[in-house]
Symmetry: D2
């Protein structure tokens, strides 16, 4: 099961703030039931490829519906077939190696 990072940047809103739109995106993610983690530079989610792409579609359309005249949506998917991948597991694998 892949993990992914999603971020949206609305343009032409007349403000430098992004938090209104990001908060609405997070509400869409919460409704999806997928495990997620909000970070300062994007929101990370765990789900199948279909679930992630469907979520991106919903987030993107929701931001346009909320009035973004122009919208940049970025998605980075990390997928592997050789062993399970989780948001928590990725961070822990690095932390363990730092302590070695």
């Amino acid at each position: 099961m892949p993990v992914a990072e999603i971020s949206i940047v609305p343009l032409g809103t007349g403000t430098t703030s992004l938090s209104d739109f990001v908060a609405q995106a997070v509400k869409v993610i919460e409704k999806s039931g997928l495990k997620f983690e909000l970070t300062a530079m994007g929101t990370n989610v765990e789900g199948t490829l279909e679930e992630i792409l469907s979520l991106v579609k919903e987030i993107h359309q929701n931001a346009l519906n909320l009035g973004a005249k122009r919208l940049l949506t970025t998605l980075k998917i990390d997928d592997r077939t050789d062993k399970p991948l989780t948001l928590k597991g990725k961070v822990e694998a690095v932390k363990k190696k730092i302590l070695e």
Copy 2:
């Protein structure tokens, strides 16, 4: 209609070369019939949101099928509702401003 940039990075292939996998991704894009442009850092496409997301799904699954044990797929969508957006139009708008 949005434009987008797609890139894939297969890991664990035992080679530093990416061109085999990228070439197969471009073949998937060619079959889709969407207008596209191959660049040194990604492939840019023009299509509806549904077409772009469906293409990303196909490219991603195709790369896994071709033997990528781990795969990073990146998508950046640029969408606007206030005027038409094309790959060619975006580049020309900048070129015109450079000459001003």
Copy 3:
């Protein structure tokens, strides 16, 4: 002061694992003294533009020195002049809006 997300992907290592290289990158960040946050999809840092770019240089060169034959390094900088920007502040601004 800007915040940024840094990620590295070594290629041709013959393994699907990234955590060895990421752990070494985090050690470089720790030495820099900059405030940072390790996430599943990248590492977020707080610093001046000079500090961030200098850190990216060091992380990149360190990964090459450690044996990465090919290396993809990604940097996303978020900078604003109208009010202070922190990793913690960005997340809290969104969380506050979600509760509204």
Copy 4:
């Protein structure tokens, strides 16, 4: 010698257009003397790590000076030690494989 993709997104400009800021960034790149290629989703450049990072710094500061109250600058560096890397060479390697 690495190749890289640079993109900037000014926020709070009150317009959905990015081309004014991108055109100014391209002027900075032109002055640097580095080989570059303008694409619909970013500008690709060829240079040493130092040259690329120095260029990013100049582009970023220039956009702030031009009045961007908030600015997202993205950089993706592709570097390899096993053989030469050029913008043209990367695209041609893929095109050759497509024809195979």
